[in-house]
Structure formats: structure tokens, C-alpha cells
Amino acid sequence: MKYLILLIDDDSDFVEATRLLLEANDYKVITAKNGQEGFQKVKKESPNLIILDMMMTYKTEGAETAKAITADASTKDIPLIMITGARKEFSFPFELKANQPGLPVKVILEKPVDPEHLLKTVALYIAKRGDEPVKKQVEVKNLINKWQDKEGNLIMILHELQNYYGYIPRDVAFNLTRDLGIPLARIYEVISFYHYFQLEPPGKHIISVCMGTACYLKGATQLFKELKDILNIEEGEITKDGLFQLKGVRCIGCCGLAPVIMIDEKVYGNLKAGDLMDIISQYSNKSEKSVKEGVVV
């Protein structure tokens, strides 16, 4: 598996040139045109390294994006390299210096950047993160091998992958085609058919509201509504801070305790809408207010 690098820059020429350079050196590259798109791709693809511009749609977009990425638990460890044409005299609300709260990047390189220097820097920071991709590759390979020769293995392998990653990353699904000789069309047909599989990274805590009949009769709808209000998200969505994901599920099988919700593995039964705020706050070290607004980034 190649290391994956995300390039976030609005300068398409620079992006193209850098992409070619990196690809020629055996990196896999994905790109984004602005901070928002970049952040989404970081969440979705979890690259091994991010190269980021400072001034895009607005002057400090790069810094804001870097802050958002480092504030998110699932992405905070990804090394960030900033490449910018901005000079110190541009007057930013922070010092144009790496490794500081206003600009949490590992290093700042000035445009135009010497290709050799860029490659060295990239190699340095990727290496610092250890050999995670290799390790993952081996682990995932083992999961697949376990099932490789068994009949009816596709769904079992997808289960293994979902357990491993928490979801089924796109490139992993694409690679299955090669490993199993099953067409990509079939793999996606299956992933998208079964509700158990998800293609996007999950929230940190999964809140499942049981929508079995018993729970429904005893007020699951109200619980659902209350949770949507508290978390400010719709069914299936993840709060902006990535902390909670809200799902409706079929019967959990605890009808005696209806209505129930399940947070991760723990079941809460005999609930009323009013109980929910307290339960949610246990999982959130933020104040109730920030949960309510669902805004952390």
C-alpha cells in the first residue's frame, strides 16, 4: 500500500505539478481545492500526510483548516506541511510560524519550493508516524486471508473490515476487487445494500435508537426527536465534532425495557425524553450547551 498524501490548494497548477512530483516518487495523491473540501477528505480518506496552502478562498483558510484537522480526535495525528506564498509581512492574526496554536502545522515551506526539499520533508514526516500503513496492510491482509478460500466469504470479509476500520474505506473496498477477484460492481452493490455496512467513518459514539415495535409504542419517536434536537443532527448524521452518530435501528431485542437506546454497547432502558440530556452529557466532556449547539469545530 502506498502512502496517501492530501494536497489542499486552490492553485491548480501548483497542485498538478506537486501531484506529478509526488506520484513519480511512489506516493498516492488526492487533492482538494479549499479548506472545507480538504477537511472532508481528511475525514474520509485519512491520509498519511497533508500538504496545505495558507491563502485560499480567504486569507487564513489554511490556518483554520489546520486547526480543524488537529482539533479532531480522529485526524489530529496526521502531519501537516504548509506550503505558502505568504510572507511574514502579510500580517496574519498569528505569527507565521509552525507548531503554534494559531497555526498547528509541522513545518512551513515557502513557495516556490525546491522539489528535492519537499520530498525530503514529506519523507521525514511520514516516517515519523511510523510504519502504520504497512502494519495495517498486513493486518487487513490477514483478515482477508482468514476467509479467502471459504465459500460465501464476501459479506464476512466486509464484516471484518467494518470491525477493523469502523467503516469500509473506499480504497480498501476497491482493493478487495484485486484480492478476491470479485468485481467492484458486486462489492459496492453489496455494501450499499446492507444497512450494517457504512462507507463513511462513524462518529466516536454511536447512539442507536431502537425502533422496534415495543419501543415505538412506548415512545421511541419522542426519544429520537429529542436526540435530534440535543445533537442538532438528523438520522445517520454525525455531530460536527465527530463525537456522536445517531442511528435508528431495528429491534435490539430488549423489549422488556422499552423504550431503549444503545450508546456504543451499553443499553439504556425505560427511558423518557427528559433522561437523554443527562445520558448524553456523560459521553461528552463539553458543557451541555456546546452539545446542544453541536458546534465544536
Binding site: 423489549c255 422488556g256 425495557l257
Partner: protein, 116 residues
């Protein structure tokens, strides 16, 4: 583990055993666990250990009475064979301290009496 053969079943008496020994049994199925049965299971074991009482704590599946989970079945000689329901940590402790140790039945948590 040695393998069974057809012969292993020939000598089996109709009702293999009638276990008269003391035991405590906790329903550990999904519904029970959701209601807190695993905590109860651990509390019972620890308390018995602490009190140095030698009664086995067994595990079983769902007895059907979901409304009363967690269920704890207690069979102690000289006492009615009782299924306690809605057992929380507190009741679990009482089961050991009162029912098992002092042969006193606990009010309000009896959900079923089993026939001998």
C-alpha cells in the same frame, strides 16, 4: 475432550441427574445484560468470595421474563426455590447476605417460585 460415540448415549438414564445442590443462577442473555445482569453476576461472585460462602454462581440464557430482568435464581437448601427479578447491585448483595447467609427471603423482588 474425548469424542462421544453412540454408546455414550446407551447408558444414559432417562433423567440424567436431579441436582439438589445449592446454586445461584443469573440470566445472562442480551436482555438480561442490557438490564445489568453482568454487573449483578460479578457482584454475586465477589460477595460470595468475600463471605467465603461456597455456592456456585451459574450462567443461563433467557428465562422469558424480560419484564423482570435481571433475574437471579436462588436455590438454597431449606429455602424456597426463588427467582428474584429486577435485581440490582443492592438486591444482589441482599441475596447473599440475607437469603444465602441468613436464610431470609427478600421482600418485593420475588418474581417466581419454582417447584421442586
Amino acid at each position: 475432550m474425548s469424542k462421544l460415540t453412540l454408546d455414550s448415549f446407551k447408558n444414559k438414564s432417562k433423567k440424567a441427574k436431579k441436582n439438589n445442590t445449592n446454586f445461584i443462577k443469573v440470566g445472562l442473555s442480551t436482555c438480561g445484560i442490557a438490564a445489568g445482569a453482568d454487573t449483578v453476576f460479578n457482584v454475586l461472585k465477589e460477595e460470595l468470595k468475600k463471605k467465603e460462602i461456597n455456592v456456585p454462581v451459574l450462567r443461563c440464557g433467557c428465562a422469558g421474563m424480560c419484564y423482570a430482568e435481571p433475574l437471579v435464581e436462588v436455590k438454597i437448601e431449606g429455602m424456597p426455590w426463588i427467582i428474584y427479578g429486577k435485581v440490582n447491585e443492592d438486591v444482589a448483595l441482599k441475596i447473599i447476605r440475607k437469603h444465602v447467609a441468613r436464610k431470609q427471603v427478600i421482600n418485593d423482588y420475588i418474581f417466581s417460585i419454582k417447584d421442586e
